[in-house]
């Protein structure tokens, strides 16, 4: 065991590209300048390239990431003094906690590095280091103590299956080759790692080439071959270089050449560089390439083990397969067969890339689930985005959705679902990845790489690609999906080699698991990830459910034309102020500016425009002749009022029936005044009434017969009925429903909360309830982590009021919490405490208070929705004492029995997805009453669709579009260079907030709005 101080500096392709050579110089100089006895070693790839350049201090195990040459002095100084440079430690992406040693970093901790054991710990250009860790001992044992038959038997017993993708039992393949007649046989190592996204073979060749040489030596002995080839792709120059050095050194020591270990066995290896053809990863094409021909596959049988290179028996295996062999010979087949599953023994190496926090090489026992790899080791999805799919097996594999993340990774489980493990590529995709584009991407790749020899592949992939191109450009037809499936089957069945046989897999799996996305592209010309250039003018407007022309109004704001901006907004929605205050802005989630610094503050800009309206849009509103038709709308929330507005513009006589005292629905009763002041809501509703809409409040409709005189009915009842917690004690202690609570506060009723309030739930409603409770005089408890001056002020002031404590109890973690991050941030700043991963068990009355028993949760396996299901941690129960419990776990619609309409098990209404009509002719429905709780903007969008559909039903043309501002020539402003973060939004100071319900966000000044708008990249003007 070596105990002297060593610094391991990674010199894999990744770290080299980040400057590790210059770092080596700097460290070297520092060490000699100080005369320290520190050994500076150059190692190969650790497999965590994203964090490079990487330096590891042994024997402590300190892991430094992103090290720059200027850090050298500090590192060496720290070593001399016996401590470490904390600033360079790896930090947990979620908590930002530093983790000093690589053994503790989840990325490494979760792995079982057998094949990758030496990678990053030895100098690949020095054979002594390989020997010092036991190198070539396995080969010695095989050649001197075992017969070739015994070697084959041992490998077969271990259960090792080929790691190139096909998974054929290695020992059996060797046996077949050994038994094939002929004196001249060959060993080939397939290092043509062509799967885009896979780089484990490269890492192994660069970091531990001798492991591969040793494996080949043992294999050659087992089958009786004298000559070996390593076929490395041209795109890996460093791997080629390291292999050449390794082979030369092995020859010097007698591990290659004649009479190895004095056993009488001869074997030597030649390197053959690939010339850039993915198809040459296929064994017969590879062989053709070595023979100096075009890389075209041959029909099998005969298999290479009988007739391969130049017609001789040839054993071809992948880099990882050979690298596994020395371990099996050293430790025995029994040891190996204990790792992994029944049919898939040993470990698998994945190159985990894409939208995941920790990208790199992951070696785990077969049978580990996708969820463990992506979440425990990979650290989850960055930027809190949702995982959409995980793609395995490269262009031969498939995309699996989030709901299948509990699938164990091995040869058979993934294949059963239509994908495959392949060579180990694992690409994680999130909500910003378009799955149709991915299918197109893979087909584009296989089409380019198709050798052309057989018609099904050559022609079939071309036709499939053409169809996918059309779909992504908005010219798809529904029949295309059936065409794709038919073509896919033919290509699979008729192709000569694995490339063609598996090329349709990405298409087939995406059709199987993501069919809605294909249909959205075709039927609605909508790309939900906002990627397909043929469909998406600008990602912001494409993602807006109402289709507001965002780039246009942002450009108008940049020119100081606020009232004109309002006109553009009002062409699509009648609630510019409301949305400017409370919209959850799906547009910002797709804003391309986020790639540079931060997304444009589109919502804030909308508000800035609405505040400076001069009403000139009214001059151009649509005026229609009265149609004589009457429409009844039940519910005056955003869906109902929007539909009312557009129907009135079409000339129909519209009456809105609202059960509550005032109109507005959730906008009024669900959103507190400090977010949406009621006078602003009143003003926008007044404009709708001014369009000719009659709004009758305090009128509840109990049955549709009451509306018999109307020609069409639109039900926009929303979803207000709070769901019950379903835990013991709920009724006895008097749990308050969240929406009920918020409504009462709005109406001015006094609500007794006591001093300590617990709110169960994690959505925006829970946050609204919490922040409202605080303002009613509950105490703000200062969470230690967020203590800053403002929060301390708040707690001091709150204590002066003799106030209470407000806690939110949420059963999942902050990543899964549905509430918008900005709301959570403000809640925490105001002093709300949030207990994550906590669930309530029961409630009892105790000494005048409520005792709430809770249990801590941990995230378990992934459920069908793709989220990790929380499970209770046994023995972690605890109790808190509160005065009031508010439940905010979701709402359901409450539809009067007299309506007589079919409802789903969630009490929502069923409608035709295109016309929005229920099963009763002339009765339409939309909004939360159909979808369950959603958002204001989605309700507004549905209100538009309903108005259009109802207008058509009543004999109109369904065209509700308006032009409120003359179309102009696009006048782009000059794009600024460089980064500039978002203009911050000023908010009310915490102490001023908590005294009442004053608006928290103060809005932009005109200068601030113009400045923010000028950050826009004007994606809609991009050249196609």
């Amino acid at each position: 065991m070596r105990t002297e101080q060593r610094l391991h500096l990674c010199r894999g392709t990744g770290c080299l590209s980040a400057g590790s050579d210059r770092l080596y110089e700097a460290l070297s100089q520092e060490i000699s300048r100080r005369g320290l006895g520190v050994q500076l070693k150059r190692t190969g790839c650790h497999g965590f390239c994203q964090r490079g350049p990487i330096v590891i201090c042994e024997p402590q195990g300190f892991f430094y990431s992103a090290v720059q040459p200027q850090d050298a002095a500090e590192i060496v100084e720290a070593l001399a003094k016996g401590h470490a440079v904390e600033r360079l430690f790896y930090r947990d992406p979620k908590t930002n906690e530093p983790i000093p040693t690589y053994r503790e970093i989840p990325f490494y901790k979760g792995q079982l590095r057998i094949i990758l054991h030496n990678c990053g710990h030895i100098d690949p250009e020095n054979i002594e280091e390989y020997l010092a860790v036991g190198g070539y001992q396995a080969a010695r044992r095989a050649l001197l103590e075992m017969t070739p038959e015994q070697v084959c038997a041992e490998v077969e017993r271990s259960g090792l299956r080929g790691r190139g993708g096909a998974g054929f039992p290695t020992g059996r393949k060797w046996q077949l080759c050994r038994q094939a007649p002929g004196h001249e046989k060959f060993i080939i190592c397939n290092a043509d790692e062509g799967d885009p996204g896979a780089f484990m073979d490269r890492s192994i060749l660069e970091a531990d080439p001798h492991a591969v040489l040793e494996g080949m030596l043992i294999a050659a002995y087992a089958i009786g071959a004298k000559d070996g080839f390593i076929y490395v792709r041209a795109e890996y120059p460093l791997a080629v270089k390291r292999l050449r050095i390794a082979i030369a050194q092995a020859r010097e020591r007698g591990f290659l050449g004649k009479n190895i270990f004095k056993s009488g066995f001869d074997f030597d290896i030649e390197i053959f560089e690939g010339a850039g053809a993915f198809v040459c990863g296929e064994e017969t094409a590879l062989i053709a390439s070595i023979e100096g021909k075009r890389g075209m596959p041959r029909p099998r049988p005969p298999y290479p083990v009988e007739s391969g290179l130049w017609g001789r028996p040839t054993n071809i295996n992948n880099v990882k397969t050979y690298a596994s062999v020395p371990h099996i010979i050293s430790n025995g087949a029994d040891w190996y067969s204990k790792i992994g599953t029944d049919k898939s023994k040993g470990t698998a190496i994945f190159s985990l890339t894409g939208k995941v926090n920790n990208c790199g090489l992951v070696e785990v026992p077969m049978g580990t689930t996708l969820a463990e790899i992506i979440y425990e080791i990979g650290g989850g999805i960055p930027h809190n985005k949702r995982l959409k799919a995980v793609q395995t097996g490269g262009p031969s594999g498939g995309c699996l959705p989030a709901g299948l993340l509990n699938t164990p990774v091995d040869f058979d489980s993934l294949t059963a679902l239509g994908s495959m493990m392949g060579s180990g590529g694992m690409v994680v995709m999130d909500e910003d990845t378009c799955i149709v584009d991915i299918a197109r991407y893979f087909l584009d790749f296989t089409q380019k790489e198709s050798c052309g020899k057989c018609a099904p592949c050559r022609l079939g992939t071309k036709q499939m690609l053409a169809i996918l191109e059309r779909i992504t450009q908005g010219q798809g037809q529904m029949e295309d999906l059936a065409r794709l499936e038919r073509l896919a089957k033919s290509v699979k069945a008729g192709s000569l080699c694995g490339l063609g046989q598996t090329a349709p897999n990405p298409v087939l799996t995406t059709l199987r698991y993501f069919r809605e996305e294909y249909e959205e592209h075709i039927k609605y010309k909508h790309c939900r990830a906002a990627v397909c250039k043929g469909l998406v003018k600008a990602p912001c407007s494409h993602s807006c459910p109402a289709g507001i022309d965002v780039p246009r109004y942002v450009r108008l704001i940049a020119a100081g034309r606020f009232a004109d901006a309002v006109a553009v907004i009002r062409e699509k929605i009648p609630f510019p102020s409301v949305c400017g205050l409370v919209c959850f802005h799906p547009c910002e989630a797709k804003c391309r500016r986020a790639l540079i610094d931060e997304a444009i503050a589109i919502r804030a800009l909308k508000r800035a425009a609405a505040e400076r309206d001069d009403g000139h849009w009214k001059l151009k509103v649509k005026r229609s002749l009265p149609t004589g038709k009457r429409v009844a709308i039940v519910g005056s929330g955003p869906a109902g009022l929007t539909a009312a507005y557009y129907l009135a513009r079409q000339g129909h006589a519209v009456t809105v029936f609202e059960a509550f005292e005032k109109p507005g629905g959730m906008m009024r009763y669900g959103i507190p005044d400090y977010r949406l002041p009621h006078d602003i809501l009143d003003a926008e509703i007044a404009e709708i009434a001014a369009a000719g809409v009659e709004i009758l409040t305090g009128t509840k409709i109990e049955s549709l017969e009451e509306l018999a005189g109307f020609d069409a009915i639109f039900l926009a009842l929303g979803a207000h009925r709070g769901m019950k917690l379903g835990i013991p004690g709920e009724d006895e202690v008097g749990v308050l429903d969240c929406i009920d609570f918020l409504r009462r506060v709005k109406l001015g009723y006094k609500v007794e909360l006591g001093e300590r309030v617990a709110i169960i739930g994690g959505g925006n409603a829970a946050i609204d309830a919490a922040r409202t409770a605080l303002r009613l005089g509950a105490k703000a408890t200062v969470p230690v982590a967020d203590a800053d001056q403002e929060v301390l002020d708040a707690s001091r002031m709150a204590r002066r009021l003799g106030a209470k404590e407000v806690r939110i109890i949420y059963r999942r973690s902050s990543t899964e919490m549905p509430a918008s991050p900005e709301e959570v941030r403000e809640a925490l700043a105001e002093g709300v405490q949030i207990e994550f991963l906590t669930a309530p068990l029961r409630m009892t009355k105790e000494n005048g208070s409520i005792r709430l028993d809770c249990v801590r949760m941990r995230l378990g396996p992934v459920d069908a929705s793709g989220r990790r299901r929380p499970e209770p941690i046994p023995g972690s129960e605890f109790s808190i004492s509160v005065d009031r419990v508010i439940s905010a776990i979701g709402e359901a619609p409450e539809i009067p029995g007299g309506f007589g309409l079919r409802q789903t098990k969630w009490d929502t209404l069923l409608v035709d997805p295109d016309t929005l009509m229920t099963e009763r002719p002339g009765v339409f429905a939309g909004g939360d009453v159909v979808t369950g709780p959603a958002s204001v903007i989605e309700a507004i969008a549905v209100g538009r669709r309903a108005a259009s559909s109802i207008d058509r039903y009543l004999g109109g043309d369904g065209d509700i579009s308006e032009i409120l501002i003359d179309p102009e020539e696009d006048a782009p402003f000059a794009l600024e260079e460089g980064e500039r973060p978002r203009v911050p939004m000023r908010t009310l100071k915490i102490p001023e907030r908590l005294g009442g319900f004053r608006e928290v966000e103060l809005g932009y000044t005109a200068e601030e709005a113009i400045s923010e708008a000028r950050r826009c990249l004007m994606c809609d003007l991009e050249e196609r």
Binding site: G197, A198, F199, A234, E273, E291, K293, C359
Partner: protein, 144 residues
Amino acid sequence: MTESRERAWGKLIPLLQGAQAEQGYLSREALRRIARELRVPESRVYGVATFYAQFKLTPVGRQRVMVCRGTACHVRGGARVLATVKKELGLQEGETAADLSYTLETVACIGACALAPCLVVNDQVYGRLTPQKVAELFDKRRTP
């Protein structure tokens, strides 16, 4: 065909690689010379040279820019990187500048997936790219 002739053909690809390493591309004369050396029809040599993506039959620029279009790079915005490179260099994929300063190509995967999106200029790998960084990269090269 005798066995030794068949084995000799195995030298074709390494010979082509060697010739390209010297001249930067495979000229007509080089193809002819190799065909004669191996006693192989020129059409055979041409067929192999055009099958593999590595071989260039026209002169290449001094700076070979290879933009990676692997899966990881694609998912992390590789298309925008390529679009920016095309704009900066004024070249389409597969084109070489008239003054032989640059050649632009794409490659299926260079194996630096953890640093996606990437590109390579001659032997130097550049990772973690954004359109901004790409523009800076080529600006620096233009005004050294």
